[in-house]
């Protein structure tokens, strides 16, 4: 029995390893291509380790203005939305979880049902509204809606808050704390791990967003990084400049992958937790 178990584990390990190689190989190949010169991309059979390794594609990329502005625009959108939005979302979550308000559960349910409205179904009127405000080709249509908070984040923080006893809030009220003080000094520290995990997940989703930036941002120096690399792809694929295209993709992946590797434990735990609770 014991031996059989060990044998099974070895077989499963091998299968998992094959799967893991499948997961990681395309990404390694992307890095490898980005370090080749344009001719050696087409050598058969392909070299996994470029010979010679060269950073020519990266050098050419950094000479392009659009890459720099792309990173800049992505950072502006992502950071503004997630920082302000986390603030508004966590306040709302506190209110939904701990404060008394008539119909608050009904309001919460309506917000939650709203997640089901698909973005493509409302993007046309949204576009026309923002274009009437003169916001097309600016970052505002990507930033402003996010500032009002994120229902998914409210949902998870509210869940998390249900583990915190109401008596803490009641006690603080008796001690004369204002509701904002209760939020800032009591609630926020208590839900910090959940806020951090949700913040990171939102950061990555916002960084990777493609459809909305594609609709709103016309001129190349206004575009976010995802749109910039997609345009580079369309432009340079005709010239078969694959090292350049792959280098651009590598650069766009670096920020999220760095965040992921650093916080992988929190991210994986928080995603897993949402499964058990949701």
């Amino acid at each position: 029995m014991e031996r059989e178990n060990k044998k099974a584990n070895i077989i499963i390990f091998i299968l998992l390893a094959i799967g893991a190689i499948t997961m990681i190989a395309p990404l390694l190949w992307m890095v490898s291509t980005s370090l080749k010169d344009r001719a050696s991309v087409f050598s058969l059979p392909p070299d996994w380790i470029p010979n010679p390794i060269q950073f020519d594609a990266y050098i050419r990329l950094f000479e392009m203005d659009t890459l720099r502005t792309g990173i800049q625009n992505s950072l502006i959108v992502t950071l503004t939305v997630t920082i302000v939005g986390t603030f508004t979302s966590s306040m709302a979550a506190f209110s939904f979880a701990k404060l008394r308000l008539p119909f608050k559960n009904l309001i919460f349910l309506i917000l939650l049902a709203g997640i089901m409205i698909p973005y493509p179904s409302i993007m046309i009127p949204q576009y026309v509204i923002f274009s009437n405000l003169g916001w097309v080709n600016t970052l505002l249509p990507l930033i402003v809606p996010g500032l009002f908070g994120n229902v998914i984040m409210i949902f998870f923080l509210r869940q998390y808050l249900s583990n915190i006893p109401d008596s803490i809030v009641e006690a603080a009220k008796i001690d004369g704390a204002t509701y904002f003080q209760i939020y800032a000094r009591l609630i926020m520290p208590a839900i910090k791990p959940a806020v951090a995990a949700q913040f990171i997940l939102w950061f990555m989703a916002s960084w990777n967003d493609y459809l909305a930036p594609l609709i709103y941002l016309r001129s190349s120096h206004r575009q976010t990084l995802q749109v910039v690399i997609a345009n580079l792809n369309a432009q340079y694929a005709i010239q078969t400049d694959y090292p350049l295209i792959m280098a651009a993709s590598v650069i766009s992946l670096i920020p999220v992958l760095t965040v992921f590797i650093i916080f992988q434990k929190q991210i994986i735990e928080s995603v897993a937790l949402s499964a058990v609770k949701g």
Partner: protein, 320 residues
């Protein structure tokens, strides 16, 4: 605002006692009022945002679908003619067919991720490393991943055909061939999404109390029976959640299509509904017609989701 709170301590305690008993004395309602005000102020921003950016555009979308709007000039009411156009538009039906075809990846991905989770649930060397590796495609940007796979599907020099070549298979030019472009996109979607489902399944499996299995084993249940009667029912809510979110997400598939097959694929074989409505709205400026497609899509997603909730609630009664 709450400077006199210190004096209110006693009343506050009274209030907590009262909660179970009689409601609403005048002092209590005053306290309630201030709490209501704070609670209201804290939730008002998301509520306003939701109304401004979801409800109002949703209503406009339904209205615009009844007009010949081009996004600039006036909206002339045209009745249901956009919808009749849509029903007779073979391109629309093809994109709808393609959208559903691509959802074949959902069951494939769920089975694969469940098996992976069962495997990872065992005591195996490097479990944490596996978890991280399988999750990397999930966090990666879809745009970059699409660009990467477009290159990987290159007929002559792409990674996919190089690997197939090792097994003596002569791979097709994946994205240029109407027969292979959809399978190609399905394979990529499964590759990108499997880590997420796996993680949820793994968490669900680990949350099953060990005693369940021990008891079943004592009763002489076979591994298959234990799977059938313990593991599967315990992960059913996760399966339900994943099916719902995957279908909602899958019906909105756009980025992969637009990057990998910028013209909708050979003979429109990879054009999806969202890609088509995006084209109609922003390239052809047929905003009224695109709004009709958008509304139809929204209704379709809602109906499918509602049906799933209905089936799920019925099958749960059966279990009981």
């Amino acid at each position: 605002m709450f400077t006199d709170q210190g004096g209110l301590t006693l009343e506050n305690i009274n209030l907590n006692k009262d909660e179970v008993g009689v409601r609403s004395t005048s002092r209590k309602s005053k306290l309630f009022q201030s709490e209501h005000r704070a609670a209201f102020l804290f939730i008002i921003i998301p509520v306003v945002g939701f109304s401004l950016f979801s409800i109002i555009p949703g209503a406009i979308s339904i209205f615009a679908s009844l007009t010949n709007w081009n996004g600039l000039g006036n909206m002339d009411f045209v009745g249901f003619s956009n919808y009749t156009t849509m029903f007779n538009d073979t391109y629309f039906w093809r994109t709808l067919w393609n959208t559903f075809y691509l959802m074949i990846g959902i069951p494939i991905g769920l089975v694969l991720s469940f098996l992976l989770a069962v495997g990872l649930n065992r005591r195996i060397a490097g479990r944490q490393v596996f978890r991280v590796i399988y999750y990397i495609p999930v966090v990666s940007s879809l745009a970059a991943i699409s660009i990467l796979w477009q290159w990987a599907y290159n007929g002559d020099f792409g990674l996919v055909n190089q690997v197939l070549d090792l097994f003596g298979i002569n791979g097709p030019n994946w994205l240029q061939n109407p027969d292979t472009v959809k399978p190609a996109i399905i394979i990529m979607s499964v590759w990108k999404g499997v880590g997420y489902s796996m993680l949820l399944y793994l968490a669900a499996i680990q949350s099953v109390p060990r005693t369940f299995y021990e008891a079943a084993e004592l009763d002489g249940a076979s591994p298959l029976q234990r799977f059938r009667y313990i593991t599967w029912p315990m992960v059913k809510p996760i399966t339900f959640f994943l099916v719902i979110t995957n279908i909602i997400g899958g019906s909105q598939i756009f980025t992969e299509i637009n990057i990998m097959t910028p013209t909708g694929g050979p003979m429109y074989s990879s054009a999806t509904t969202v890609w088509y409505l995006w084209q109609q709205a922003f390239s052809n400026l047929r905003m009224g017609y695109a709004s009709a497609i958008a509304t139809a899509l929204g209704v379709l997603i809602f109906v499918i989701t509602a049906i799933q909730f209905y089936i799920n609630s019925r099958s749960q009664y059966k279990l009981d």
